[in-house]
């Protein structure tokens, strides 16, 4: 069947037409609405290095989340012991995510064990020793549970960041987990990277605490922080005309009364009096009940509103507040207020994040790269074509045809796979041009050799293709192996290079061997060409 020239031409035409069909949505600036259903949605995407945007790798501090959990458990054990009237000396969280419980004697041990098995199945006793007649028990999370918490922390962070990015309004963002504690974020077309980083990376833990008015703030600032209280920075007040900014301090009760988890909504509002933006928050039903109770119990005291360990405001509670509405004020710009509302709505991150990698490309640089990439591709291609035609004459034109089809198929397949074109990817296309002619060079050189041996044109073509085929296959397989490792190794742009190179090589096998053969067979079989122009 493959002997038939007509059949082979049909296959070629089908593949080229299919490639063009896949490619069209990527090249046309806009497809008329009536044609939308005719074409696939798949298209070639531009990498961040070409269209501009931000690539971000964050590390979620899962250990911090674990510590927080252990801290909560320690508090829980303390309360459990008190409730059951078990005497104990201390319950403390120690480094390495352990809890050390000190009991006055052996008797209490059984009570502790009972509380643990009833209320804290996630903990196990790591060691227990008697020192000075005291029983010191070290508790530890079960391994499996720790892994669970780490995973949940990553999942929650991912979810929260996804929410924030969605509300920020980025087209085609990519947010994917990497390894155990990393998140890869790709934001195409971001214009203000600083703002985006702030928005994504902010922990946004909203807390409400009472101001400690029984103790002196000055005393605490001198280092005498009373037990059960904490010292905290206030938000920077906007200094007029660049004057010295004041950073007020607050002495707060350590206990957190309410957190951002009880929020239902957060919106930017403009204050009537000063025209300054603020964020209006609305609690969910449970949060509203708590807020109602807290304000009712603490009339005339000051309630501090804290975001990520910074006190934003600490207004005096004038009366019980029912209905669950509150406001976060501060010297916000409109943009800051809007971003704050977004992070409050999206929820806080379960653990702080660090930036491991950030790459931002401005749109003008991207456009530059596209222009230069296209220019060098066209020039490279013209030079190669000129060279091939001068060297192989008519056969050089056949190789050129193969080259053009090669690029059409390469781009078509990329579109079909929704592949991403990067700057090194463009280099990959240019290189593919150089390498694709290699197959034809091998065939043509071989055919020339056979002609020199005195074979007829038809026999020489036959032998040339047959002998060159295995060589081409072997050499292309090795290039594919290298491309595979490249793909494994690379991040964004380099991956794009590996992809174009691989598809280009496979397409070149088809165009340089299969397609050109049709033309040579047609010339030597049907037209009975006796002398090849090679």
């Amino acid at each position: 069947m493959f002997q038939s020239i007509r059949f082979r031409t049909l296959i070629t035409a089908a593949i080229v037409l299919a490639s063009l069909y896949f490619l069209l949505p990527s090249v046309l600036p806009e497809i008329p609405a009536s044609m939308k259903n005719v074409f696939l949605k798949n298209r070639i995407h531009l990498g961040l290095d070409l269209q501009g945007g931000m690539h971000l790798v964050l590390e979620v501090d899962t250990e911090k989340a674990l510590e927080g959990n252990v801290e909560r458990l320690a508090v829980g054990i303390r309360e459990g012991l008190m409730e059951k009237r078990v005497r104990f000396r201390s319950v403390e969280r120690k480094p390495g995510n352990t809890i050390v419980v000190e009991l006055p004697g052996k008797e209490a041990r059984a009570d502790l064990e009972k509380i643990l098995s009833d209320q804290f199945p996630d903990l196990e006793v790591k060691s227990a020793e008697v020192a000075d007649g005291r029983e010191v028990v070290t508790l530890k999370y079960r391994e499996k549970r720790m892994a669970d918490i780490r995973k949940t922390t990553l999942d929650q962070s991912l979810e929260t960041i996804r929410n924030r990015v969605d509300q920020f309004g980025v087209t085609e963002p990519e947010i994917i987990p990497q390894g155990d504690d990393r998140i890869l974020i790709q934001l195409p077309g971001i214009k203000d990277p600083k703002r985006a980083v702030d928005l994504i990376g902010k922990t946004a833990l909203l807390e409400f605490k009472l101001v400690d008015e029984e103790h002196s703030l000055e005393d605490a600032m001198r280092g005498n922080v009373p037990a059960g209280s904490v010292l905290m920075k206030g938000s920077r007040e906007r200094g007029e005309g660049g004057g010295a900014r004041r950073e007020p301090m607050y002495l707060l009760k350590e206990r957190t009364l309410l957190t951002g988890q009880s929020l239902e909504n957060a919106q930017v509002k403009i204050s009537d009096r000063f025209g300054e933006p603020y964020v209006a928050i609305k609690f969910n039903p449970q949060g509203a009940r708590d807020f109602d109770r807290i304000t009712g119990e603490n009339v005339n005291r000051r309630l501090a509103i804290i975001l990520d360990d910074v006190v934003y405001s600490a207004p005096v509670i004038k009366e019980r507040i029912s209905g669950g509405d509150a406001q976060v004020t501060g010297a916000f710009t409109m943009e800051e207020a809007r971003d704050l509302a977004i992070v409050l709505r999206a929820g806080s991150l379960p653990a702080p994040v660090k930036i491991l990698e950030q790459r931002t490309v401005g749109p003008s640089l991207g456009q530059d790269s596209i222009d230069k990439g296209i220019l060098s591709t066209i020039i490279g291609m013209l030079l190669v074509v000129a060279f091939m035609v001068v060297y192989y004459r008519l056969s050089g034109f056949v190789a050129t045809l193969a080259l053009v089809l090669n690029i059409v198929i390469l781009l078509g397949v990329m579109a079909l796979f929704d592949a991403t074109l990067t700057l090194p990817g463009i280099a990959g296309i240019v290189l593919t041009i150089g390498m694709a002619v290699d197959a034809n060079v091998l065939i043509f050189e071989r055919t020339r050799e056979e002609l020199r041996l005195g074979k007829t044109a038809r026999a020489a073509v036959e032998a040339g293709y047959a002998r060159a085929f295995l060589t081409i296959l072997d050499s292309n397989v090795t290039t594919l192996i290298a491309a595979l490792f490249l793909f494994q190794f690379g991040t964004g742009p380099v991956k794009g290079f590996a992809v174009t190179l691989s598809i280009g090589i496979i397409a070149s096998m088809f165009t340089a061997i299969f397609v050109t053969r049709i033309i040579f067979d047609y010339a030597t079989w049907n037209r009975h060409v006796k002398k090849l122009s090679i």
Binding site: G201, K354, V361, L375, T479, A482, L486, V494
Partner: protein, 305 residues
């Protein structure tokens, strides 16, 4: 048209000693350069750090940029012109990379804005790589290169013979070291795309070797008795025309990238250019002659019979 006459008979194998010596010297120089420079000139992808690419709207004094940025005290700061002089484009690098959210690029931008005014420049690219990521990438890069060698070794050993595979891989290691050495000698930055270039060279340079091996295999079938040295010489000569042509076409397209591809792609294309020229040399002078050298040390069983 013909570049190489069909009856060319160059004694490649006879120049084996010279070639091996030249290669050993080149490798020694490469390694010496790496030792003197304390390893490759790692870019921020591997060493960690920050790069800010800034384009000014008009001519600026590079010293003014330098003095402006000295004001914000960054460790190991370098400022370098990027592209041509009339691009007014500069790369600002520092070894520092902060993990906090504010970032260094913001400080650089603020300082420049205070000195040159808003709108006098545009920040076109910012790259911040933390030390941890750099370490990961270095490890992954080395593994990728080494594993690709091993994969090639396995494939050629399967398709040909083990000694051929060893010759081919030695040539690859040779190409890789010399390319890295050239980068070190020119004190060019070794970045992520250079590793991509190395892997491309590895995939590409083995092609030439395979084409020659293929011809050796074919010629041996025709005449089993022929002396291996003659056989190898004949095979290299028969494929020489193709080898030169293919290198030429690749060099042509690389030249197009070098001249018109812009500053970002320059080093990438340059690395591939070096690697491909070295790779072509090693396919002819190292890979196949090595098979002969092996044969002289321990003749294959077929021959002994």
């Amino acid at each position: 048209m013909e570049l190489i006459k069909p009856d060319t008979q160059i004694d490649f194998v006879g120049k084996m000693r010279i070639a091996f010596t030249v290669s050993l010297i080149a490798i020694a120089v490469s390694i010496a350069s790496l030792v003197v420079h304390g390893g490759p000139n790692w870019g921020i992808d591997f060493a960690g750090g920050t790069v800010v690419q800034v384009k000014f709207t008009g001519g600026v004094d590079i010293d003014k940029i330098r003095s402006t940025l000295e004001g914000i005290h960054l460790e190991g700061i370098t400022i370098q012109q990027f592209g041509t002089k009339t691009d007014y484009e500069y790369l600002i690098r520092t070894a520092e990379s902060t993990e906090d959210l504010k970032g260094l690029s913001g400080r650089v931008e603020d300082a420049l804005q205070a000195a040159f005014g808003k709108g006098a420049f545009e920040v076109r690219r910012v790259e911040v790589v933390g030390a941890k990521v750099g370490k990961d990438l270095t490890q992954k890069g080395i593994l990728a290169v080494v594993f690709s060698w091993i994969a090639m070794l396995a494939y050629i050993a399967w398709r040909f013979e083990f000694r051929f595979a060893v010759g081919g891989i030695l040539a690859l290691v040779h190409d890789t070291i010399i390319t890295i050495g050239v980068f070190s000698l020119l004190n060019k930055e070794f970045s992520l795309v250079i590793v991509a270039a190395l892997l491309t060279i590895i995939g590409y340079s083995i092609n030439d070797t395979i084409v020659i091996y293929d011809r050796i295999r074919e010629n041996r079938k025709k005449n089993v008795r022929q002396d291996l040295g003659q056989l190898i010489n004949a095979s290299i000569n028969q494929t020489l025309s193709r080898t030169i042509l293919t290198v030429l076409t690749v060099v042509i397209v690389l030249a197009a990238i070098l001249l018109f591809g812009g500053a970002v792609m320059f080093d990438f294309a340059f690395a591939i250019l070096v690697g491909i020229v070295v790779g072509t040399y090693s396919s002819i002078f190292i890979a196949s002659p090595f098979v002969l050298a092996w044969e002289r040390v321990s003749p294959s069983k077929r021959k002994r019979k």
